[in-house]
Structures are given as structure tokens and as C-alpha cells.
Symmetry: C2
Subunit: 792 residues, 2 copies
Amino acid sequence: MESNMIFVPIALAILGLLFMFIKMAWVKKQAPGNEKMQEISKSIKEGALAFLAAEYRLLVIFVVIASLALFGISMIVDTTSWMIVPAFVFGAIFSALAGNIGMRIATEANARTAEAAKTSLPQALKVSFGGGTVMGLGVAGLAVLGLSLFFMFFTGQFMGNEGSFYDNMTIVLEALAGFSLGAESIALFARVGGGIYTKAADVGADLVGKVEAGIPEDDPRNPATIADNVGDNVGDVAGMGADLFGSYVATVLAAMVLGNYLIRDMSQTGQFTDAYGNMGPILLPIVIAGVGILASIIGTFLVGIKNNDAKEAQVQKALDLGNWVAIILTVVASYFLIDMMLPSTMTMNFFGEGAKQIPSMNVFYATLIGLAVGALISVVTAYYTSLGKKPVMDIVQNSSTGAATNIIAGLAVGMKSTFLSVVLFAAAIYGSYELAGFYGVALAASAMMATTAMQLAIDAFGPIADNAGGVAEMSELEDHVRERTDILDSVGNTTAAVGKGFAIASAALTALALFAAYVTFTGIDGINIFKADVLAMLFVGGMIPVIFSALAMKSVGKAAMEMVQEVRRQFKEIPGIMEGTGTPEYAKCVDISTKAALKEMILPGLITIITPIIIGLLFGAEPLGGYMAGVCVSGVMWAIFQNNAGGAWDNAKKSFEAGVMIDGEMTYKGSDAHKAAVTGDTVGDPFKDTSGPSMNILIKLTCLVGLVIAPILGGHTSETAVAFNNIEVIQSANKDSEKKIEVRMKMEGELATATVTIETSEKGKVKHDVKKLKGSKAEVKAEIEAIKASIK
Amino acid sequence: MESNMIFVPIALAILGLLFMFIKMAWVKKQAPGNEKMQEISKSIKEGALAFLAAEYRLLVIFVVIASLALFGISMIVDTTSWMIVPAFVFGAIFSALAGNIGMRIATEANARTAEAAKTSLPQALKVSFGGGTVMGLGVAGLAVLGLSLFFMFFTGQFMGNEGSFYDNMTIVLEALAGFSLGAESIALFARVGGGIYTKAADVGADLVGKVEAGIPEDDPRNPATIADNVGDNVGDVAGMGADLFGSYVATVLAAMVLGNYLIRDMSQTGQFTDAYGNMGPILLPIVIAGVGILASIIGTFLVGIKNNDAKEAQVQKALDLGNWVAIILTVVASYFLIDMMLPSTMTMNFFGEGAKQIPSMNVFYATLIGLAVGALISVVTAYYTSLGKKPVMDIVQNSSTGAATNIIAGLAVGMKSTFLSVVLFAAAIYGSYELAGFYGVALAASAMMATTAMQLAIDAFGPIADNAGGVAEMSELEDHVRERTDILDSVGNTTAAVGKGFAIASAALTALALFAAYVTFTGIDGINIFKADVLAMLFVGGMIPVIFSALAMKSVGKAAMEMVQEVRRQFKEIPGIMEGTGTPEYAKCVDISTKAALKEMILPGLITIITPIIIGLLFGAEPLGGYMAGVCVSGVMWAIFQNNAGGAWDNAKKSFEAGVMIDGEMTYKGSDAHKAAVTGDTVGDPFKDTSGPSMNILIKLTCLVGLVIAPILGGHTSETAVAFNNIEVIQSANKDSEKKIEVRMKMEGELATATVTIETSEKGKVKHDVKKLKGSKAEVKAEIEAIKASIK
């Protein structure tokens, strides 16, 4: 039976993309500002495009090599089709495209936002949020469209073949995993490369410009200013776009894979059928994603302010309104979709507990848990990073005794913030699993990600406003323009921090869902950390996010130092630069950032991708599972720590702009305490914009690589191997001691466990020599056949 | 059969303590210096004793409450004797005593070292190392004596009772675990309290004294000077003494527990007997520890220099000689002891692989792996933290662009240093487990810790020399005195860093051994992180070290700020203080540190102890195992990160004393780069002296608490529970689907696995209704009896 349900997400994705083009045309129609503004905007755009072009050239090499490797895997492994290769390539291209669309519109929107801010704040919000909307819809539309089309194509290719529904669907989803792998790989490089670029430029510009020379941010006399603004676009916009594109795809994919397992579980009690081509549980996540696009479009109409004298609070409220409407619409739609697309009672296998009957509404409750925990983690993140709240005020107070106490306080805030986040997160795992197994966990993550279009619109308008401020400053527009863009920028900072909380929560849940898919895929019995090799790899996995962060930070440090020296050199050598009569060599700074970013993104990227492959091949499926768990646990911790410490330092510094009360004295910009806070913010920059956000991608990509190589490690390679891998000697004793051994076999495709008890003693039911079970695969297979026959 | 082997460690421990008293008398006989020196030394001693007294008063409350809780456990649980309570109390007292002895001798030795330095460097080394030796032997002697005596007493109490050897020995070791728990609890509070004390004083003294007022370290005009020197004693000496006492005891205990399991495994093939009361594998670790004391005593005789113009290298060489001789003697002795005390071939159960025949020499090779990996991790630690090596030079270079880049570089160094350490550590787990199972892992840790007396002598002489320098400075002795103590201090810094590498490696291996003991003790089948609750607790566990570090750092930050304000106040308000005519109020600073340390050590301590109890009671044994693993993985990472970052920052700052080349220019103390390095060092102080070293204790204490409450969680509570807990439904399916379920039962005390196959289908051998197995314990027990009868 064929289903037309897949056309629903396709239609919604196309709708989203159409609306994106309309919004894009509208933004481009806005007045682009005076000549100077257009010139600056153009330099930023050119710098950003040049960087992306260089980045993509480098990534083509990676994509080619990875494609060859994937093609190799598809040749070895029966269940992996060679079509994983085009899926991978398109995943990579779509991801790059998503980043590119965002970057282009952001560089168009910045000057236009500044121009709009000349007349009114509501109009400036409209333009900058319009730019964000283009990006959000571009990412979400491309993700849903790519996934749906490939899914439709692959089901057409493989679902008619001989073999069970489950086996064929496994081939479909394995190929689809290629799309996700492509997207996530590019996301990693884009995030790390963009992150290094933007922070090298930012730190360099700040340290010499603001601290040493005492000139304001975005001052045209600062040679690193253009690089700084380019950085905002390649890091915060293009990097974030690729990141969220990857997250979105991975989350939906993981839920689809677990939907397939759900169907398998339900097939135990007879043929599973439904009105959706018998694949309701697999289609559900992608349909919810499609609906999320529509909900986001509706939400965007509600974002707007009327009052020209509005402050941060009103702007925030307008964004919140749009966001919540989108979320609530998605929730309501999810309720009906779950009710419609899932059987009212489902049989689910719970590890170690056996099969349970689960009402489909439990899946809906799991999505509610996902949304609630996501929202609460955002609240926690906001608390630890917001202006005026205790943690930030604490850092402010500690700034009065110098940079050292400021740093100690900031580190402590970041570390402390892990507590509530992790407790909430653990509750989400526990709760959604109890409700609906790992399918519930996956749907909880999907629900968090459903309104990605809206989330991203909100996230992306911040950097656009920031850039608009830069354009205003560099074009020496009137002060009220900068004031208005500053309001938008400040709101953008808060939404960015909140978005990060949401992102890490959804990434961690996605990683868990992928992890669950991995375990089921390899056919192993679980990941038992009481085995020494698994435990050892748990430690190795725990170390990877630390090393990754170290490499990212060191790269930023190195590049920033080069930048500092270049800016110092220009200040010294270019005559009249400080007086505004000499022109700084902006291009040199852009060049330093570009080269450093490209050079430094390679090692962390390769470590992420290659380490799980080595461990899987060397130690096997279960130790690789331990490694994946180690990466997830440590990655979540370091992500929260770095993001929140960075966010808190940033706002501690910002607190001085309006003035803060320290020891009964009002303290402002320029004070020693403020200088200490600037140092803290500089340390926090790579935390919150380079290594911190990379953690999300790191953990997801690790699990995706595991999932893609899973078939090599066991479970699916060939019939002999199937039989071999699913035999586990539960208990064997010394042959001489005449104790019995017990062998468990799992039949592929059905969950039944055949238990064979073999005894070497004369009392045994089946006499059997232990040693032969340790022979070659063929020998073992023969033995097993003999045992099977004897007990029939 | 009784064995006299237990008298060997008792005799060696007494020998160690005797030698300690001789050394102590010798140190006290040395000239105590002039009146001013004696007065300063006395103030330091009084401050330190006052702090310890206040700390102990607070800890008495904790010990009383914990004793009541332990008594409660012993009432509920059959296998836990009430004698765990005195064992716990004595563990606490011995730990406090160990710290106290060290602290007293250190405060005696400081002025005497300064006095000796007046005449010659060799004599100064002799006095300071003599002080260290007293402490090392005190800690090791008390540890071995306490463990041996309690073990002897408990075996006398319980080994004659009815029940198997294994069961009775379990009761003995469970009671002995109380001793270790007591020691480790006090260690935690002492380390955290001492760490907060010393760093609050140090940071406070440095920030105002060195940075703001520009007066040298230990200048008598600085009001925080006495507090700073007191801090060295309560943190680096008393804290470290309690820490290593706890480590040592925990390591030996874990090895003994695993020795008991080894005997159980070997008993499967018949009665296990040997010439050591049938407990060779249990006695072996404690005998090795005893021999280690003797080897350390011999080693101390070799530490000495002749040349009065010796530099750091020669002093280091002298210490290395003593250290290596002690290690080699222990290794040689271990070879013969292992050969003698273990059966030449042993049956060991490997999880998931069944029983294997292991030659006893594999245990020796495991100890070699332990020593080799310990030494290599020390080399890695030394590389990342030593003067003149690339990582430190990197931080130095990054200081030229300010405090922010210095901090970024330092953080990156700490993070990067996790790579090799963790890889080595994972190799140690893997290698020693492959060789000789978890017993091998435990013996590897024991071997690392065997020469604790020598290690500690080397570690403790550093702070004594540091204090001697302080006394010299405050008493305004001639410059060459300070130069000589500085040489000793500098060597002490290196040995301290290396010691920390060793400590974290041994702590992690000990934690693993405890973890293995825990799994075997609770009777669970492993820790499967594919179960959602276990995975959730793995995350929660991973968060604990981060929160713990945050609390410790924040406490230091808070206390340091109070100290800074107090010192600033005194500089402002006390007339003539800067000219040396006014006397600073030292006592006020001592008071601030004392109060802050006591107040702030409570929360992290309680979190460590209470969290595992809550998780165990709420979620059960396996999720608690996940929690323990999370704490270990994350704790090891944060320990290495914090210790090495702190050490590297410290030496980066020190590099400026001799001058460093930055961008082709020699840069010295007082430069901007140096100021940036001082900021980095200040951030690093709580890292390396408060939160970093606490991680060791945190992970061991977590595992110990788990071990002590293990009997409540399963395995040993009562016969009914035994039967119930050892049944695991491996695979159950929907009743309606007429699939079979399989139930595995473990018989307590013997490893045989009885497999019962129950089918609900008409084909089944034993017809049985699945549902009843989900009833109450009594019902289940009845069911099982019925099954047992039917298959007999």
C-alpha cells in the first residue's frame, strides 16, 4: 500500500521555501542606505563570500575522500546501498547552501537595517527579523525537503525488494543516514572554521582597539573592524545555519530509525499495517517537522512592535509571542498527528524489561516533556547569563578585585550552571524513555527542533542587528541609529544564549536517540561499562570534547595573537591612522582570519570523524558504544560550561555600560573593574562562540559516524556473521571442570531468544565440546546448526 | 589454618612509625633559629593548629551522624557488622592524625630549615626532607597498621562463623571498608577546607601585596603573610597527608576485596587452600604495602647532596635516586611475594568471557603496567607543567598580549594535557585487566601507591622549604638563605606536579577497582548504559565533579575577595604599615581564611557523600553504577585539566623571574607580560590547590560510599532478597504472543548459573505463567522454588 503522507512535508517544505523567497525579495527591496554604507556592506559581504568559497574548496576534498570511504563501506556491507554516497554529497551541499543563503541575506540586511533604524525602531526590527526569517525558513525548508525527497526516492528503490519490511527499511534509513552525515560534517567544519574566524577577529580587534588604543567598537580606524564584521557573518550566521541544519536533519533521522524499530517490535504480534504505507511511526517525525515550518511562518507574522520608543523588553516580548505561537501550534498539530498516525496502543520493547503495551498518547506526553525541559533549560541558561541576575552580578562584583577574580567567578558560573541543566536533562531522558522508550526520547528531541525555522529567525536577527550597528558606526551615522540597533543587538544576545540552551538539550537528546539506534543496529546486547575495554573507551570518549575544545581555543588564541600584532603594526606604521586620515589595511586582517580558520579547523574535524572509526574497527561495537557515551556525557558538560561561562562574562562586561554598583560606588566603562571584565569577556569569546557551540555537533557527529559504520561492526554484514555476532557465550567455565556453558542466539529480524544449554558433564542434555565454539566462523556456524538440530 | 603473614605488615608498619619518631626527634634537635624566627614559626604553628582544631570540632559532628547512619545500615543488612562503626571512627581519627603529625613536623621544620640554610644547602635539604620523611612514614605507617590490625581483629571475629569463607570474608571486608570510608571522608573535608584556606590567603596576599602594593612575597608588611604560610601547612601538608592516607587505604582495601572474589572464583573448582590461612590473594596487597614502607625507609637514606653550590638539578637527582631505589626494591619484593603468595595458576572470571586460567606472574606484569603508566603519566604531567617546555613557553608567549590570551593559553594547555594522560590511563585499564582481571587493575594501583611513604616525603619537603623561605623573608635573614630555600622550593614545585600526575592515575585505578568490587558486591550483571535510568545517572555523575569544582572555586573567590578587602583596609588604615613602623593585624587575616574554609567545605563534602546514597536508594544498584562511572570519567578529566593548567600557569609566571625571550626581547618581572602571567597564576591557584586535587578524593569517596551501601541495594540483605535480586529476566515477551521467557538465577557463593527456560506456549518444557514473576517478593520466591523443584 502506498501512502501520500510523504507529500505533506514536501509540500510544507516548498511552501516554506516560497515564503523565504518572498521575504528575501522584500528585504532586498528596502533602501540600502548611502554610498558609504553600501560600500561597507559590500566589503563585509565580499570578505564573507571569499571565506566561504575558500572553505568550500577545502571541504570538497573532504567530501570526495569521505564519499570514497562510504562507497567502500557500501561494497562490503549488504545493508548499505551505494546510494548513501549521493545522499552524503547532497547532505553536504544542502548544509553549505543553508549556510550560504543565511550569510547572503544577512550581509544584505545589515546596511538596510541600519538605514531603517534611521527612521524607526519597528522598521529596523522588521528588516533584521526579515533577514532572520529568510535564514530560518531556508534551513528548515531545505532540511525537510532534502530528507523527504531522499526518503521517497529510497523507499521507491528498496521497499519492493525481497526481504522483510524491517530489513528493507533499514537499507533506506542507512542510506538516508548519509544525508545526515554529510550535513553534520559540513556543519562541524563550518562551525569550527567560522568560530575561529570570528573570534580571532573579535579578540584581535578588541584587545588592541578597545583596550590598548581606547577607540570604540567598530571604529573605522581599527584595521580589524571589517574582519570582525565578516566574522559575525561566517561564524554566527553561516556556521549557525549549517549547525542547525545538521541538528534538524539528525534529529528527524534518529526518530525515523527508531520508528522502524517500533514497527519491528509491533510486527512480532502479527503483520503491522496502517494507512500510511505501514510506516506511520517512521513518517511521523518528518510530518511534524513539516508542520513546524507552517507554524513558524504563522509565528513570524506576529513578531513586530509599534512603538518607536520601545526598549529591550518590548522587542523581547514581540519575539516571545511569535515563538510561543509557533510552539503551541506545533504542539496542537502534534497531538492530532500522533493520534492519527500511530496505532492507539503500541508494543514497545524496553531493554531489560521486555515488551510493554504503550498508548500512543505517551508519545505525545514525551514530546511535551521534551518541550518543557527544553524551555526550562533555556530558563536556566537565561538565568546564568542574563544582565542583572545574580550569577552575572557576581562576576561584576568580582571584577573589582581584578581580572583574576573575574575569571575565577566566570569559570565558577559556567561550571555551576551544569547542575540544573544536567538534572533537567537526565529527567528528560528518564521521563521520555519511561513514557515511550527511545522512540519517545527521539520524539522529544524532534518536538524541540520542530520550530527550528522560528528559532533560527530569532537567533539570526541578532547578528544582523549587530552588523547593522557596525555599519552605522563605520559610516558615522547619527547616534540614535546606533542606539536602536544596540537595543536589537542586546535582545539578540539574550535570545542567542537561550537558543544555545535549547540547542544543547536537543543535541543531547538527538545523540541519545542515535545512540539507541546504534545499539539496536549493531545487534549488541547493550553497552556494559563493567567490561574493561568498554570502560577504557568511555574514558577516551570523555577526553575528546576536552581536546576538541583545547584545539579550538588554542587556534583562536594563536590567530588572535597574529591579529593583535598586525593591528598593532598598522597603528604604528600607517601614518595618520588614529586621526582618521590614513586608511587601515582591512584586507590584511581579513586574510589572517581566513587563513587561520581554514588551517585550524582541519585537525579537530578529523579527530571527530576518524576516532570513532578507529575505535570501532579496533575494539568492536560495544567499546565504540562506550566511546560514544563518553563523548556525549563529557560533551554536554563542556558545552554547558563553556556556553554559559562565555555568555555570563559577556553580559558582566556589558553591565558596565549602564553602570553598576560595586561596594556602594557606581562604576562605569573605563574603570579598572570594567577592564577586568573586558579580559573575562575576551576569555569567554572562544568559549561561547567557538568551542562551546561545536560540542553539539561533535556529539551528534560522533553518534552519526557510529551509526554509519555500525553495519561493519556487526549485525548486518552477511549471514554467517549474523549468526556469529548474535551468539554470546554467557557463561563458560574451564573445560576440565565439566561445568556447563550457555549460549544465547538471537534470530535476526525477530526478537525471540533461542537458548541452548550445552554441558560438558555427563549429566548434560546436549553434550558438546566447548573448544569448538572458539573456532572459525564457519566452524561455529556448523556447530550451531548441529545444536539447533539436536534440540528441535 | 591460621597464618602469621598478617604480622609482616604490622611489624613493618611499626618499624616505619619507630623510624618516624627517630626522625622527628632528630628534626626537633636541630637549631630552631633566632627569636624572631621562632616567633614567626610559632605564629604559623598556632594558626595552623587553631584551624585544625576548629576543623576537627566540625568534623566530629559529621562523624557522629555518619556513624549513626552506618549503625542503621548494619542493623538492616546481614552482611554488615556493627563493627563498621568503630572502623569508620578509627579511619577518621587516623586520617586526622596523619594530617596532624605532618602539620606539626612541618611547622617545626620550617624555621629549622631556614636556620640550616644559613650554613649550607645540603643541611637545609636534610632538615626539610627529614620533615617530609616524618610525614611520609607517619601516613604510611598509620595506614598499614590500622588496616592490618582491623583486618586481624575482624578475621578473628567473623571467620570462624558458619557460612562459606567467601561470605564471612565479605563481612570482614565490608567492616574494613568502614575504615577506608572514615579516612576518605576526613580527607575530603581536609583537602577542600585546607585548599580553600590556603588559596584564599595566597590569592589575597598576592593580589594586594605583590600586584597592587608591589612588595615582595612573604613581606612582613603584608597582613596576609602569616595566613598565607599557615595555609601552606593546612592545605599542602595536612590536606595532602589526609588525602594520601585515604588513597593508600582505599587502594589496599579495593585490592583485598577483589582478592576475595579471586578466591571465590578459584573455589569453584574445589576448596581453595594456601599457606596463608587460605587468604593469600587478600593478604598480598597489604604485605606489599608493608614492604613498601621498608623500601621507602631505605630510599630516604639515599636522599642527600654534598655540594653547597648545588642547583635544582642536583637536588632533583638526589630525590629521584631515593625514589627509584624505593620503587625498584618494592618491585623486586613484589615479584617474590606474588610468586610466593599466589597459586601459580589462578582461575579468574572475566566478565562476558567466562573463566580463564591466569598465571600468577600476570599479576606481577599488571603491577609493572601500573608503575610504567604511573611513571609515564608523571612524565606527561611534568612536560605540560615544567619550566622551559613548550606548553609553559606557549603561555609565556601569550602573556605578551595580555591576561586574556594568557588565560586562554593556560586553559588550552590544561585541556590538551588530558589527551596523553587519558590514553595512557585507558591503556592501563585495558592492559592490567587483560592480564589479570580487576584484581590486576587493583594490584596495578597498589603498586603505584606502595611507596607512598617515599612519595609523600618528596612531596612534603616542598611546602616545608616554601615555608622556610617565608620565615627567612619575614625574619629578614640574609639573601643567600632565601636563595637556598628557593632552590628547594623550586624542586618541590616540580615534584608536586609530578606527584599529582601519579596521584590521579592511582586514584582512578583505585576507583575502578572499587567500582569492580561494587558490581560484584551488589550481584548485578554489569552496568548497562543502554538502560535509560543508568544513562541518565551517568550524566548526573558526570556533572558532580564540575559542580564540586565550581563550589570550591567560588569559595576561594569569595574568601579571597574578603581577604583582598581586609588587606587593602589595613594598608589604608594602619599608619606606618608600608614603612614597617606599624604592625599589620595578621590575626584578622588568619580569621578570615579559617571561617571561610570551614563554612565553605561543608556543601561540596555533603554533595559527594549524600548524592550516591540518594541515587542508590531511589534508582537501585545499576543506575548508581552509572553514576559512579560518570563521576570517575568526568572527575579524571577535570582533575588532569585543573591540575595541569594550574601548574603550567604557575611556572609560566615563574619563567619571568629568570627572564624570558618574547618577540626577540628579554622580558622580566614587573613587565606587562609578567603582570598578565600573575593573573593567570592567580586563576590557576584554586585549580591546582583546591578543586583539582579534590577530584581524586571525590571519585574514590563516591565509589567507597557506593561500596558501603551496596548491601542495601541488593545481593546481601536477606535470603529472600538474595533469591530475588539474583534473578534476571533476560528476555520476556508479550504473554499473548506465547513467546518464551528466560530466567537466570545466580546461586549465592557459587558462580554456577542455573538456567530455567519457561515457556507459555504449549511447546514449552516447563509451563509457567509470566505474570506471577512480577508479583511480590514472597510470591516470586514461591514461584522460583516451584520452578527449581520442577527442573530437579
